[in-house]
């Protein structure tokens, strides 16, 4: 038993190493190619800076980047949280009440097709220049995967479990909290991870449309002043932000679903 366990642990550690080492190795190779090919082909810095230039631009402007990361982080996290709660509530409503499902679901799917980016300028007219229009954009973009995946989880409860549920005479409330909600959690997390990735896109797009701060604003500024190394450094900051937020959800998922089959 212990031999099997340590063997499994070693294999797991090996897997973890290769999951980090393989893509990491590829990135290093690509960065090295980038670093040497760009001067070799005589490309200007304002067109494509080399990785070391991006790194030093990022370091020199670290306070500026940090200052502009906070608003974007705030918009993303607040918008995501609202989208998550709203998405769960709507999913529960449409799966619990057939009439709501019939009324709301076609509209939801219809509004999924509406290009929300196209209506972003309208939000400035409606909600002004502050955080509100950005957060609303994030909510609109991040909301759908939560609804769809949570609803899928709630409807995929096997019929035997539903029957068992009813034979135990549980109230709907108790059945929901003890069975339906935990049952749908793996699906919910799929939706949440997708929502988090989309939330950042929503924040940046909203900042592109109108803003005086945030990484989206910094990107536009760097672009219009031909500070291409700074532009790339802001992209790196944005990527790091996205990866960290995504990993927070993954970590939460690993903790919540720790007892389940993977």
């Amino acid at each position: 038993m212990t031999e099997i366990a340590t063997g499994a642990r070693r294999r797991k550690a090996g897997n973890a190493l290769s999951t980090l080492a393989y893509p990491g190795g590829l990135c290093l190779v690509l960065l090295a190619l980038w670093q040497f090919l760009v001067p070799a082909l005589d490309v200007e810095t304002s067109v494509l800076p080399v990785p070391t230039e991006i790194l030093s631009a990022g370091w020199e402007n670290r306070d500026l980047i940090r200052e502009h990361t906070w608003p974007t982080l705030l918009e993303t996290v607040v918008g995501f949280a609202i989208a998550a709660v709203l998405g769960i509530v709507v999913a529960v409503a449409i799966t619990a009440v057939p009439a709501i499902h019939k009324t709301l679901y076609p509209l939801l799917v219809g509004s999924l097709v509406v290009p929300k980016i196209a209506i972003a300028p309208l939000f400035v007219i409606w909600f002004g220049f502050g955080y509100t229009p950005k957060i609303i954009m994030v909510v609109l973009i991040a909301f759908f995967p939560v609804v769809v995946d949570m609803a899928l989880g709630l409807t995929s409860i096997p019929p035997e479990l539903r029957m068992l549920n009813r034979s135990m005479g549980a109230s709907r409330w108790r059945a929901f909290w003890k069975i339906s909600f935990p049952f749908a959690l793996p699906n919910l997390f799929i939706g949440l991870k997708l929502a988090m990735a989309l939330a950042i896109i929503g924040a940046i797009v909203a900042e592109f449309v109108q803003s005086s701060q945030g990484l989206g604003y910094l990107l536009l500024q760097a672009n219009s002043t031909l500070q291409t190394p700074l532009f790339f450094a802001a992209i790196v900051a944005l990527t790091v932000l996205g990866v960290v937020l995504y990993m927070v959800i993954e970590l939460l998922e690993a903790v919540v679903l720790r007892t389940r089959r993977r």
Binding site: M163, L164, R166, S167, M168, P182, L257, R261
Partner: protein, 284 residues
Amino acid sequence: MDPAAGLTDVRAASPTTGDDLVTLDGVAKTYTTATGTTQALSPTSLAIRRGEFLSVVGPSGCGKSTLLTMISGLVPPTAGEVRIDGELVDRPYRHCGIAFQTSVLLEWRSVLDNVLLQFEMRGIDPAPHRDKAVALLDSLGLEGSSRLYPRELSGGMKQRVSIARALIHDPSLLLMDEPFSAVDALTRDQLSMDLQQVCMDRGRDLTVLFITHHIEEAVFLGDRVLVMTPRPGRIAEVIDIDLPRPRRLEDAGREKQAAYAAHIRETFSRVGVYRRNQHEGGQA
């Protein structure tokens, strides 16, 4: 047993003695779908005696599971009525335990907590029942497994947990819908023997309705075996299995158990469960 007996009159299968736990009177089920109506179960009258183990065998789609869900009150019959202890079943009957073909355990709960779910869902504090649940798990061959999670269990172990969950609240009626059909043959044998023991321990306090495709299993476990016809299902025959307990699974292929099984196959053949091969002779 009278092998010469024809289709038993359904009324004869329901003697109205005062010692019946479940009575079905003209219970039928018709499903309406987009393509029309399907009769799943012909009007059926039947009495399940208190403390007996009633096996039900029949081909797929003969309405065995429908019968079970109607007795449990989960699905209303289209016609007729089900009574348990004289009371009309018109909503899910709460004093029963149910075990299905799949164990439907909750993956986020330990074995013990899966069993105790039965209390939690009824709004009863499960804490005072923990020791009893552990003892029940032990008696079902799950010693020391109460802290494990479902993903750590084999199919047979999961099925044992599901049986424990169905029995923990001491129901008077245990409804089992092909509970052993998803496990391997040897595990199935072991589960049959263990189930016989559990039922013997509880004696008249536990009545069991056990649905299966497996003829030998039905004979081995049943005090009576109810044989059903193909759809629309009706009772072809009810056979008393007159063998002392504990029965030995080793005897399943021998003498009396085998004779009962052979008789059931004859009945199946007569009511058209088996498709006849052409070279077998032009009987039908």
